[in-house]
Amino acid sequence: SQTIHQWPATLVQPVGSPLSLECTVEGTSNPNLYWYRQAAGRGLQLLFYSIGIDQISSEVPQNLSASRPQDRQFILSSKKLLLSDSGFYLCAWRISQRRTEAFFGQGTRLTVV
């Protein structure tokens, strides 16, 4: 069966510090991968998505970046965090076809102080 791992669960970082959030999927190959951010009481904002190891699309051109070093690994990074980067970050995967369910990780609660 397929599983998705996302860590850490919570993170408190000072303004200006770097960020690295990791997401790994097991039990499938060539999944579509997604990073979302959810601000408190707000919707799910799509940040990045990837339909292949060399294909990453950005929806939000801020101080965040994403990489896919391995087929089932998706990393969200920042060189210098801003206060506005605080939120609940969610990774998701789908089988590499259209019209399929997306499975979410448990999320990372990031607080920038």
């Binding site: 699309s57 259209r98 997306a102 448990q106």
Partner: protein
């Protein structure tokens, strides 16, 4: 730019009543429309989904109504229960690039 617009932002329904949440989209390249349920501190989980070639899909107490010409779809929860209290998101998936975008969410509260 919000690609999927969802309303209302919050909804309070009495136990046993019908909860209705609406969504609208503009991009005709969307070809898959799921609804997700999210409890506090958890990731969203798929509730029910529909393809644009059907106008309605029902699974238990949950029904999606889809109007392709109006580019609107809605979730109906029949006989709403306190355990249904959660945040609900509609979403749309792009035919070509497989982008999956979500609405702003509706916080549903079912009063006992």
């Amino acid at each position: 730019q919000q690609q999927v617009k969802q309303s209302p932002q919050s909804l309070i329904v009495q136990k046993g009543g019908i909860s209705i949440i609406n969504c609208a989209y503009e991009n005709t390249a969307f070809d898959y429309f799921p609804w997700y349920q999210q409890f506090p501190g958890k990731g969203p989980a798929l509730l029910i989904a529909i393809r644009p070639d059907v106008s309605e899909k029902k699974e238990g107490r949950f029904t999606i109504s889809f109007n392709k010409s109006a580019k609107q779809f809605s979730l109906h929860i029949m006989d709403s229960q306190p355990g249904d209290s959660a945040t609900y998101f509609c979403a749309a998936s792009h035919l070509v690039d497989q982008k999956l975008v979500f609405g702003q969410g509706t916080r549903l509260t079912i009063n006992p």
